[in-house]
Symmetry: C2
Subunit: 657 residues, 2 copies
Amino acid sequence: MAAKSNQESQIDVLIIGAGPAGLMAATWMARLGVSTRVIDKKGTKIYSGQADGLQCRSLEIFDSFGFADRVWKESNHMLEICMWNPDDTGVIRRSDRIPDTVPGLSRFQQCVLHQGRIERFFLDHMKKHSDITVERGVLPIELSIDESCIDDLDAYPITVNLRHLSDEEAKPAQQGHGVQDGLFRSNMAEDDTEDLIRTSREDKEEIVRAKYVIGCDGAHSWTRKQIGGELEGEPTDFIWGVLDIVPITDFPDIRMRCAIHSANNGALMVIPREHSLVRLYTQLSEIKPDASGRADRSKITPEVIIAAAQKTLAPYKITYKYCDWFTAYQIGQRVGNTFSKFDRVFLAGDACHTHSPKAGQGMNVSMQDTYNLGWKIGLVARGICDKRILATYEAERREVAKALIAFDHKFSRLFSGRPARNVIDEQGVSMDEFKRVFEKGNIFASGLSVEYENSMIVQAKRSNQALATNIKLGMRFPSYQVLNQADARPWPFQEWMKSDGRFRVILFAGNYRNKQQRERVQKFCQDLEAKGSFLRRVTPGNSSIDSVIEIFTLHSAPRREVEFFDFPDLLHPFDEQKGWNYNKIFVDDESYHEGHGKAYEGYGVDPERGCLVVLRPDQYVAFVGEIDDTASVEEYFNGLMLDGSNHRNKKMKRKQK
Amino acid sequence: MAAKSNQESQIDVLIIGAGPAGLMAATWMARLGVSTRVIDKKGTKIYSGQADGLQCRSLEIFDSFGFADRVWKESNHMLEICMWNPDDTGVIRRSDRIPDTVPGLSRFQQCVLHQGRIERFFLDHMKKHSDITVERGVLPIELSIDESCIDDLDAYPITVNLRHLSDEEAKPAQQGHGVQDGLFRSNMAEDDTEDLIRTSREDKEEIVRAKYVIGCDGAHSWTRKQIGGELEGEPTDFIWGVLDIVPITDFPDIRMRCAIHSANNGALMVIPREHSLVRLYTQLSEIKPDASGRADRSKITPEVIIAAAQKTLAPYKITYKYCDWFTAYQIGQRVGNTFSKFDRVFLAGDACHTHSPKAGQGMNVSMQDTYNLGWKIGLVARGICDKRILATYEAERREVAKALIAFDHKFSRLFSGRPARNVIDEQGVSMDEFKRVFEKGNIFASGLSVEYENSMIVQAKRSNQALATNIKLGMRFPSYQVLNQADARPWPFQEWMKSDGRFRVILFAGNYRNKQQRERVQKFCQDLEAKGSFLRRVTPGNSSIDSVIEIFTLHSAPRREVEFFDFPDLLHPFDEQKGWNYNKIFVDDESYHEGHGKAYEGYGVDPERGCLVVLRPDQYVAFVGEIDDTASVEEYFNGLMLDGSNHRNKKMKRKQK
């Protein structure tokens, strides 16, 4: 038994698990200045393998923090999907090509990069903005919630006992095939947390009292068990192997994403990766689960996986000299029956939904869980938002998890099936249906079809969607190229909607040469600047007027016919040290080098009359209305934001940028 | 006196001076694996101020090493130049707007970023690729050349004595105004190298024997004096101040590059920079040189500079709370009478040309000097190229320096003059002429108008320019978007022409669906693969076939109608470990997300018949001919390249990427 310790401390947020979901949560806390600890039972960061597919939406999110460029540079971009199916003679042929990302959806396209690099970018970003680090080799062993104070925002109702493991214990057992593998965390492995607890020695314990706990501790989530949650659903008998190799092959599409169905030798998915690597997902038909429902992991080796791939790919040949990583998994879809307890302990990522990795969704949906949750906890902890917004996490993300599970259920069964020999072969899978599901899945897989429902943070009822037909309520704000009025530089507009915790009002000022339109904008500014306005109410007296809610202006008049100082001061606030703010007013006009963004057309906004749009801190659209409808905007913010006088200082030491 | 030391060592290349020119040279050596030392008399890297303007061509060069993205992200992009001139009543008005970079010239546009960041990116890149570091606080004190062995490639004919300074000595004296300034290295300061030598104490000396020395030690170049070189030209009486501030102003174009001529209160140039900074270049009419030709530096303060700017900018107001840096300079243009000695000691950058900084050329032309020189020294040191190519450095770069000086002479006098009151005011400067010179200067200032003449490394005489009307002999290879045949990813084609020391053959394969065209390509490959071909001759036996000369193919057939394996093996060479090379064959076709590059049209190449292009390792065009004209290509390479058996191993420890 470990030595008990009396060491006790308090923290606003405790994050359990430092995978992509946990690091996304920590990144929010770093940006919002919320005191936070991150623990992970593993002793080291991962270096190869694991998840790798990145949705457009994930890249947009990385960009909102400022590191999408690193991903975009290092990743392999996937442009085209090639489908290979048996021809009349049973030989595989390329039957179709479709774009991997539906054109026009996003300024980013799907790409792949090893999870360890993504984690590196999160860690670098946290370091730049905060003192939050990941404490590795630390295991949570007990969690209790003091229900008597769960409504007290100053209280620390959650008590978690932590054990610091010795180095030896924190190292996951590999299967010893000479290459790194992921079998130790495959869903075919039993959970090893219990073992770690039983065998702990020479370690120490401490007690942490937290306001919020976020469990990002994977499919075997310890946190989930503490709050009595369950994953619901059953595994299938389909077992797939995953192999990362530098392939030596005469298959012509090895650098394309391929879905290959052989006549009688199973299916294969090809994912081209960075550094000449290719990931093969291949069905291991010869390995079956035993009576307990699990297959014998020791039978799965790189040789077994490549042999299966070779059969599917015949008559083409494939082999390798270098193998980077491999794993296997058993297809199954499960979703958690609860995502939180008392809105104090939350689950995210694999802790509340698991599915097959082939569609490249897992890491994305997991990160997007905590991208949804992080700002809510952060702004409540900072005293900026009403704690009732926390309930929207489960409401919003459980729907996404369910949609994911439904998609994966259909997709993975179609993928694992044998192609139909003809239209009356009912045992086989129709390749036309497969293609339809694949194409539909591609939109889903972009992460851009997520639509949050009406709630206290999505003001659908007082909105007028017709004023901005392509800025959909509850969906993420799309991006079009606009120009900065002050320096004529073109920008994807979304790039200015940083994940820094601020809500945003986008003032589509319309044709600003028009006198009436200028008067409407002036009236809007007067309303917001008036004594007692919601903007003044939610902004602390000693803070700049854009510190809680930021206003961006996008007008449609020709850039050269409007001057920067034609706009009211509120739209480009003055600072004693820095002068006027030159990064708030944008225009929909032709650029010198990158064409015309046609933003008003893209957004579906009348270029004469414009409109008002409110965005949440996560870029989701909260309100669409007339420029004059400041009353609805006021009602929206009054419903969820506390007075500026309630704000807590940022407690954590903030680093200089 | 310093203690003499017997310490002696040998090195292939000694670089004196670690500013942008020196670091560019060192970066080539890092990439080419040439043993190199870099010394700088200053004890620390610079942190603010200095040069900041970056040409399109400099960005392309950074991109060829792989770090343009860091510059592009951090820099301020300049899009538009606004000209302000007195109106009929003598009040300044915006009279014109022109694009800062001529549209279509490059995929990059001019931008500004503090020199210290550029140096950081060079240093990071050197660290990634080599063990070369900068030794600071090291002063060269004696240089001699043993003329008896200057033709012996194995000899180290240059002896340089170095003195390692104490920290105190290596710190440049600032003027003590409370902000960092650049007056200590302004051209209004006397050289302080002599002082450093005389006052040295507690230091040590060593002797270095080098094959090549590159003097990048600035306008007061010590190296230049050792080889008996002189800068020729005279200063003017015009004195300009430079001030980096965060401005507080009601001037509407403060985030544009502005050229402002007031009626009677001098001229001002505005350069908007990163981090809300703005650089002001302003004429200091009230400060005049004394009888010695130099002005009193102690009279120049930020207050003097801002006061001058305020007068020019009236009736607009400008002030600041934060000043980052300032300096002053006296306009003058001088060019060195020699650029090298025995092709063993070379001068580059300010050591062989100085001019006024306002046009943002200095850092660029200096870096481009050593970008031209570095690969030549590197490939000669490696035994890959004949040493006669070294003579092309002075031939090519002296012309560029002279063109720069001529441009700056005209531009700075026009800028410093008073605007003409009317057409008969001959004392004044015509604002129309100013605009014309400015616009012409803008093309010059892109760095893309450089054209090297026919020589052993530019095979103009056997070329047929008509086959590629926009791939100009002696100019840099332009960039158009192309797609990778293997994965459909769009790329700016130039991005593949990395600065790694390889020459390149670009095979414009034309319409590859056409049988005759395929036969021409096959014949081309047979010629190059034949026993005794120039390609086999220059490639060491144990190296891959693309290690000295790399072949890229760009065809014009529809991507989907041609297969990767339709192309001969030579065009996508096989590697035992890595399989086929998927990054050699490109196609001019529509992309899914970024339009059609129309590369054949852009390059001016017949999409049916194609052509052959040879590029030097610095992306300059060496030859244009028919696909069948391998004889001319052979002659070109035979003229400058040694047999592969002569290659020296990379001596320096190369780091793993």
